[in-house]
């Protein structure tokens, strides 16, 4: 088993078993969804240093791609999910030139890009195609238990992707690019290609998460699946736990999303306040997240 493998298996098993002992499956589902998104952010930010504020754009694209495949192509949900992931990767490919921009410009440009996708999808003129602002209804394929199970599988995939990156040449190459882009180029690493790969992998994970989300809720409007707060949650969970590790985003999500459901769900502004303070404190005092504390005391973190 590669490093971190057993942890991943443990997390996946936990979410496979929890529904039998805890009734609010929507909550468990959302937590898995954020675990996947946080790992998606991790793939990009942790391994390349690019922070995609517009990450939710891929999520929304996946949700719409999957839904439209079900509604227009009459595909069953599982192949439709692949269409959703492919749609997210396609958007990623179109936006790949953004990777030319340096850090902060990239972050803002990706945010703008997700708004562009949102305004196109929700445009009333496209109602015959996307249902425009009136939202999607997939009641005919609604199946809470199956979609939950598929999200468990997507979670396994996301964790597997990060385990792979942590243990593979691609992951090493990406981190070399992150630290020293110019010398990495001299060392024969194709900087543009490796970055684009991470970007597309990250897009595909968000697209899958969005697709399963769409199937699971089955009725949704464009605004909630393109809501900036989805990006914000995933980014904060990743930063809090510690990017570029497998466990960081997992711990960040379990702790913060758990806290969110404990105090936040009906008082989200207090939670947003906590988030904001967490970010400021992290940047000033702990830029590499909680996991860096463990590393400081010589614990090896996968």
């Amino acid at each position: 088993m590669p490093r971190g493998g057993w942890y991943s298996v443990g997390v996946v098993l936990m979410f496979a078993v929890l529904p039998f002992v805890y009734g609010n499956h929507a909550l468990l589902f959302n937590m898995m969804m954020y675990l996947v998104l946080a790992q998606g952010i991790n793939v990009l930010f942790g391994f390349t240093g690019y922070l995609p504020f517009g990450y939710v754009g891929f999520f929304g694209t996946g949700a719409y791609g999957t839904s439209l495949a079900i509604l227009l192509l009459h595909l069953p949900p599982l192949p439709a999910l692949l269409v959703g992931a492919a749609a997210a990767m396609l958007v990623g490919l179109v936006l790949a030139p953004l990777l030319k921009l340096s850090g902060a410009y990239f972050a803002i440009a990706s945010l703008a890009a997700s708004e562009v996708v949102y305004y196109i999808v929700s445009n009333p003129h496209l109602t015959p195609l996307t249902q425009g602002p009136y939202g999607i209804s997939l009641v005919q394929t609604y199946n809470a238990a199956q979609s939950y199970a598929v999200m468990v599988a997507v979670l396994a995939l996301a964790l597997g992707a990060v385990v792979y990156l942590r243990n593979s040449n691609l992951g090493l190459a990406l981190q070399a690019i992150r630290e020293e882009p110019i010398s990495a180029g001299f060392a024969g690493i194709n900087v543009v290609r490796e970055r684009t790969r991470a970007w597309l992998l990250s897009a595909a994970l968000a697209g899958l998460a969005g697709g399963v989300y769409a199937w699971h809720v089955s009725v949704f409007y464009p605004k909630p699946v393109f809501d900036l707060s989805i990006s914000v949650f995933a980014i904060v969970f990743t930063l809090f736990g510690g990017a570029a590790t497998l466990l960081g985003p997992v711990v960040g999500t379990l702790l913060l999303y758990g806290l969110y459901n404990w105090i936040g769900i009906s008082q989200p502004e207090y939670f947003q306040l906590v988030f904001g303070i967490v970010i400021v404190v992290l940047v000033l005092f702990l830029p590499n997240g909680l996991m860096s504390l463990l590393r400081r005391i010589r614990v090896d973190v996968p």
């Binding site: 340096s102 850090g103 440009a109 882009p181 900036l228 947003q272 904001g276 303070i277 970010i279 940047v283």
Partner: protein, 291 residues
């Protein structure tokens, strides 16, 4: 119809210049993108709303209060975080993330203080009779907002080009290290620039109820992106280029709103992406640093 659209575009263009100019000033001096820019604007809007709702005060009275309060806030914010960040490994990205945290904090505090509801100041506070400009009638609030914006932009010009502080500020913009070596107090100049940037945003916020629609705690991030679009159209780091960016954006927005209204919301985002990718130097000015 077209002349109405163009005139409205100029009025909004002046206003958008004011909305964005503070962001560009801060960027020019510190090379950092203030992600909380729109949130400071939102606070200015609530200040004007609060004075109006509590005491029936005309929003114009909110301007001096906004300038003093946000100038101080900016100076305090600078000394609290910026010197510490500049010592770190990647100051640009870290300060960007930090200001994002600040933006979240401001938005959350605004929801806690004011509730997550839309607020409006009646456009009739400046009088109910529309103003005639070149044979077209416009809401008086638009004309007042544009006029105040023009005055504020002139003040920024005088500050930058006709004052000792402005000379030092431009020296820091050109090169932080060289400015420091010639004995300029870089921290003091930068702190004042951040304060001025926030004060300008807050003054723009005073009029947002008339120009941008109702006041809400979560309006900030959209305004930050729009402002960023305006300053990249003009030129990053050149505050006066913002006026050109604002006018281009204002007229573009009004033309879209009139002729292709359902696509108008796309405008700032598409412009932002295109200009960053195709002509990162903006319509004027120097190049953006690429990776």
């Amino acid at each position: 119809m077209l002349s109405y659209t163009l005139l409205a575009g100029l009025l909004f263009g002046l206003y958008f210049s004011l909305v964005a100019v503070g962001l560009n000033l801060v960027f020019g001096v510190m090379r950092l993108i203030n992600l909380a820019h729109g949130d400071f604007l939102m606070l200015g809007a609530f200040l004007a709303y609060g004075l109006y709702a509590a005491a029936g005060l005309n929003p114009l009275y909110a301007i001096p209060a906004a300038i003093v309060a946000f100038m101080l806030a900016g100076v305090a914010l600078y000394y609290a975080v910026v010197p510490r960040l500049q010592a770190s490994r990647d100051p640009q990205m870290l300060s960007f993330i930090l200001l994002f945290g600040v933006s979240q904090i401001i938005e959350a505090l605004a929801v806690i203080a004011f509730g997550n509801n839309q607020r409006a100041i009646p456009a009739t506070v400046f009088g109910s009779r529309p103003v005639l400009l070149l044979g077209q009638s416009f809401p008086v609030a638009w004309v007042v907002s544009a006029a105040v914006s023009a005055v504020a932009l002139v003040v920024v010009y005088v500050y930058l080009y006709h004052s000792r502080l402005g000379y030092a500020t431009r020296a820091v913009m050109a090169s932080r290290d060289e400015a420091a070596s010639t004995g300029i107090n870089v921290h003091r100049v930068s702190a004042i620039a951040l304060g001025t940037g926030l004060a300008l945003a807050a003054v723009a916020g005073v009029f947002s109820a008339f120009m941008l629609g109702s006041i809400e705690p979560d309006m900030g991030i959209g305004i930050t992106t729009t402002s960023f679009a305006v300053i990249v159209i003009g030129s990053l780091g050149n505050p006066l280029g913002t006026v050109l960016g604002g006018l281009v954006y204002g007229v573009g927005l009004m033309v879209m709103e009139t002729f292709y209204p359902s696509w108008a919301d796309l405008l700032p985002y598409v412009l932002l992406i295109l200009i960053l990718l195709v002509r990162p130097s903006g319509l004027l000015g120097q190049r953006v640093r690429l990776a």
